[in-house]
């Protein structure tokens, strides 16, 4: 049980147009979807992510009676995000009883979706390492075409070895 509490179930990478470019499972015995369903899942998530980004609640900048004057919030002037200076990022975590979904969007718009056990700690570290491996073994590969499905054997190998090594 302690070993399974730190597991990574699967990883999905979505390109900036919402297409699925990478999908792997790292746990035996998961019920897998058909390829088509994964494509639909990726596209749906891409849309949901865009919606969550645009519905990020905004707080009025003026401190006087914030609750009463909020209905006139259609004009963005005088409102700011909860964390000023940081642009709205959209959905970052989604947690259920069985798994936890972490979404990381790079500055170029690629999204990494990581399904982990809810008890798994340091998901940010895992995500950073995955991003690093992606930058190394996918983006430095002359045979990889941008925005196309990732078929890089060295990426599979290093990612698998690293994820297996840390559990």
């Amino acid at each position: 049980m302690p070993s399974s509490t730190r597991t990574v179930f699967s990883l999905i990478i979505i390109n900036k147009a919402g297409g699925l470019i990478y999908q792997r499972e790292y746990q035996a015995g998961l019920r897998s979807l058909s390829t088509n369903d994964y494509l639909v899942l990726a596209g749906t998530f891409h849309g949901v992510h865009a919606i969550t980004r645009s519905i990020t609640p905004k707080l009025p900048v003026a401190q006087t009676s914030p609750a009463l004057t909020s209905p006139g919030g259609s004009a963005p002037v005088g409102f700011s995000y909860p964390n000023p200076g940081v642009p709205a990022s959209g959905l970052e975590h989604l947690e259920t009883e069985k798994f936890r979904l972490t979404c990381f969007q790079t500055l170029t718009g690629t999204k990494f979706l990581l399904f982990t056990d809810p008890m798994t700690g340091n998901v940010d570290t895992i995500m950073n390492k995955i991003y690093e491996l992606y930058a190394d073994y996918v983006m430095k590969n002359p045979f990889y075409q941008l925005e196309m499905p990732v078929r890089c054997e060295a990426f599979d190998r290093h990612l698998g070895a690293w994820l297996r090594g840390r559990t």
């Binding site: 430095k140 590969n141 002359p142 045979f143 990889y144 078929r151 060295a154």
Partner: protein
Amino acid sequence: MAAPPRHSAMLSVSNAVGTPQSGSSDKSQTAQPPSTPQPTQGLRVPSNRKTIYDRHLNRSRNAELSRASFAYLFAEMVTYAQRRVTGIQDLEKRLNEQGYPLGLRLLDLLFYRTTTTSSSALSSSSTSSSPPNRPLRILTLLHLIHGPLWRLLFGRSADALEHSVSPDTPNEYMITDNDPLVNTYISVPREMNQLNCAAFVAGIIEGVCDGCGFEAKVSAHNQPTEMWPSRTVFLLGFGESVMEREKVLERAGIK
């Protein structure tokens, strides 16, 4: 009495340190920095005015380069070579041709560095303890490639050096690299699995052999093992004239 030596000592110190002196001279001649004609000349001069040409050729200690920028550069070279090719063999030939002139030019630097550094550095790595010279025999050349050349390029020796076991091909030698630097980030697609981008390194080796007067054909081949998935064997095939000369030299007892 004591003044001249002190003066000379100061001179040598200021020569060795360089930067404080040049900084103070800049301040004294304030007219020079505002002129700054450097950007128009197209050559960027560092602030301490020491370009790569001012550096000693033998200074290789802190001359490390970024592995990532090399990876991007090499990826771009492969993409460029791939642009107008007809097949895998053609692509490897192009990579080989890109490496060949590099090998020819690298040879002089290699000889220069191995002769000016204490000769013990070479004799400890190669079998011959004679003063480092242009290799005359095949084995000396192979040791030069396996050791000093590999260290100059990749910072370590190659992993194996073998002679062909087949009696039909006595002119073939193999140099093995378990994890070639150029292939670190490259995953070749399955439909091109014959391709090995270390053909570029094979071109460098070919240039070195030709520069030494050993006509040779060098090719890179994949030989993955469980532990080393990108293990590469460089196959060196020497020409007929080289083999004949080799026999003559062996009879003459020249090493």
